[in-house]
């Protein structure tokens, strides 16, 4: 079933996963929850639509990435439906939108002409978006990061959208030999974006932007000295920021000594750690644990809820899916002859992977906690949409030089 040439998408297995999860949730309350079964139907429909679209337009698409993204969304949808059914509904809508965007991006990106020279466009749009948030944004959870559209009932997080323009801008600036002022502009753009994010208190995004910039810069320019010195300057800036910003001090203290203030600063970290292990290797069972004791359990700390209810093994498998995405993304980037496409594939992979590392590192106390989301898994419209677009970029670069496309072009 679902056989496409020699490569299978394994959608039938993913459908089984959805059905088992939702069927279980249907029996959770004393009244039979038919909505959960409707959801499993919607999920199977989603998989079926993907299967048709891939067969029709994307025969060469990278299978492991599609499988990994689908599994991450499956886990996310099931756990979110268990936590708050309304969030589960909204997330399903975002996921459906996300998949459509991913396939559209995958098809359209390779056909656009001259995208490797429009660095002004990318930098301008990125800066405009960040400035709009900075001026008009409302503060949510300590970070002035959101634009609330109350008429539509949703909030957007423009710092997420700017991630794409960051990847495009830095890739286009550093993909070939350009005049020196262009390089300077690229660096200045990154610095201003990071500064705006730090001022808006979104330190996680600032860290993410800088690390991704370093990755793309080194991949494009291959200069170890410059990269290392930039990294050194960053370490220096981070060290100074510890003394300048009390917010940074709070984060670092909570990371190093969470138990010295278990009810306030260390609360989220401690609750997260305890919740993660309280499920054991196989989890306490969907709906049986108590994941709601952890703050932000549906956005940043959703990994905790997954580990508690579905087990540490499931947590490891999720990390494994992210590793698959990273591995395939880097493979795709290495195969490219055109350096712009290689850089955007690599930049998108780096962005998703570094973001995952930063938030998981914060949850697991490898590094201070920051307020960014787990791609594809956390609840959040902007986060999911942008993650899908980034995956779409990777897929589009991956299927770029396929023999089919070249047959169309001919000599």
């Amino acid at each position: 079933m679902f056989n496409t040439s020699k490569h299978r998408l394994h959608f039938s297995e993913i459908a089984i996963f959805y059905i088992v999860g939702y069927a279980l949730l249907a029996f959770r309350n004393s009244q039979f929850d038919a909505r959960a079964l409707l959801f499993s139907l919607a999920a199977v429909l989603l998989l079926f639509t993907q299967y048709i679209i891939i067969n029709a337009f994307f025969a060469e698409v990278n299978r492991p990435i599609v499988i990994a993204v689908n599994m991450l969304c499956a886990v996310s949808l099931i756990i979110l439906y268990r936590l708050e059914p309304d969030l589960g509904i909204k997330q399903m809508i975002w996921v459906a939108l996300g998949f459509s965007l991913m396939f559209v991006t995958a098809k359209v990106l390779a056909k656009l002409k001259n995208i490797d020279n429009r660095y002004f466009l990318y930098m301008g749009t990125g800066l405009t978006l960040l400035l709009i948030t900075f001026v008009f944004g409302s503060v949510v959870g300590g970070a002035q990061n959101w634009i609330k559209l109350d008429s539509l009932g949703i909030s957007l997080q423009p710092s997420e959208f700017v991630k794409i323009f960051l990847v495009l801008a830095v890739s286009s600036v550093f993909c070939k030999k350009r005049k020196f002022y262009v390089y300077v502009l690229g660096v200045i753009f990154t610095m201003i974006s990071i500064l705006l994010l730090v001022l808006a208190n979104d330190l996680g995004a600032a860290l993410l932007y800088f690390i991704v910039f370093l990755f793309i810069f080194y991949a494009g320019k291959n200069s170890a000295w410059l990269t290392l010195s930039a990294f050194g300057a960053f370490v220096l800036a981070a060290y100074i920021s510890y003394f300048l910003f009390s917010h940074v001090q709070v984060r670092v203290d909570a990371w190093l000594h969470p138990w010295s203030d278990p009810n306030d600063r260390g609360y989220q970290i401690i609750q997260g750690l305890i919740s993660m292990v309280s499920g054991g290797a196989f989890g306490s069972g969907l709906g049986i644990g108590s994941p709601r004791y952890v703050p932000a359990y549906e956005t940043d700390y959703i990994f905790t809820a997954i580990n508690e209810e579905m087990g540490i093994i499931m947590g490891l498998l999720i990390i494994g899916f992210y590793v698959i995405i990273a591995y395939e993304g880097i493979k795709i980037a290495l195969k490219q002859n055109d350096s712009f496409y290689a850089l955007i594939a690599f930049g998108s992979t780096a962005l998703l992977s570094v973001q995952t590392f930063i938030i998981l590192g914060g949850i697991l106390r490898i590094m201070p906690l920051t307020g960014i989301t787990l791609p594809f898994v956390s609840y959040g419209g902007s986060s999911i949409i942008i993650s899908f677009v980034l995956a779409g970029i990777i897929l589009s670069v991956g299927s770029k030089n396929s023999a089919e496309e070249l047959k169309e072009e001919d000599a």
């Binding site: 088992v20 029996f27 196989f282 069972g285 969907l286 002859n337």
Partner: protein, 155 residues
């Protein structure tokens, strides 16, 4: 004697059944997820294996003094999108393809290109044999099967 139940605030029969179902369900969910993960890994391995041809071969380019190891399918031309890029104005953007079909190597010129195999003009799919000379756009390459390569190195 009252039996102490772990979740003492659940006191209905349906909930006890659900707890049982959930405890079984967690193993099923993990198992299915694990199988999908392994399947994805196998897909990666499959893709890696299919790029290596069953019957290894390479092209020796005299002018550039280079030896190209041929992949399962190689596209040769002036365009940077090709697998083997020849930067010469006499070579078309996409000039010819060489691919392996179940162990047999085949050369397929693109439309409106001049490709010569052993000084004979070819315009369609043609089987390649060892030491064939492929000429196109003032370039010439020798097609070599890998076993011959190793012998040449040993000599």
């Amino acid at each position: 004697m009252a039996k102490k139940c772990k979740m003492y605030y659940y006191n209905s029969m349906e909930t006890h059944i659900y707890i049982l179902l959930a405890m079984i369900g967690r193993y099923i969910l993990i198992l299915v997820c694990f199988l999908i993960f392994v399947a994805a890994l196998l897909e990666i391995r499959k893709a890696a294996q299919s790029k290596k041809p069953l019957n290894p071969a390479s092209l020796k380019w005299n002018r550039g003094k280079a030896i190209f190891d041929l992949r399962h399918e190689s596209i040769i031309g002036r365009s940077k999108k090709c697998n083997i890029v020849i930067n010469s104005p006499f070579v078309k953007r996409y000039h010819l393809r060489i691919l392996e079909d179940c162990g047999e190597w085949v050369i397929i010129p693109y439309k409106d290109t001049k490709v010569y195999l052993n000084k004979q003009f070819i315009d369609d799919r043609t089987l390649l044999t060892d030491k064939d000379v492929i000429s196109f756009g003032k370039e010439s390459m020798v097609f070599m099967l890998s076993t011959e390569m190793e012998e040449a190195q040993n000599v």
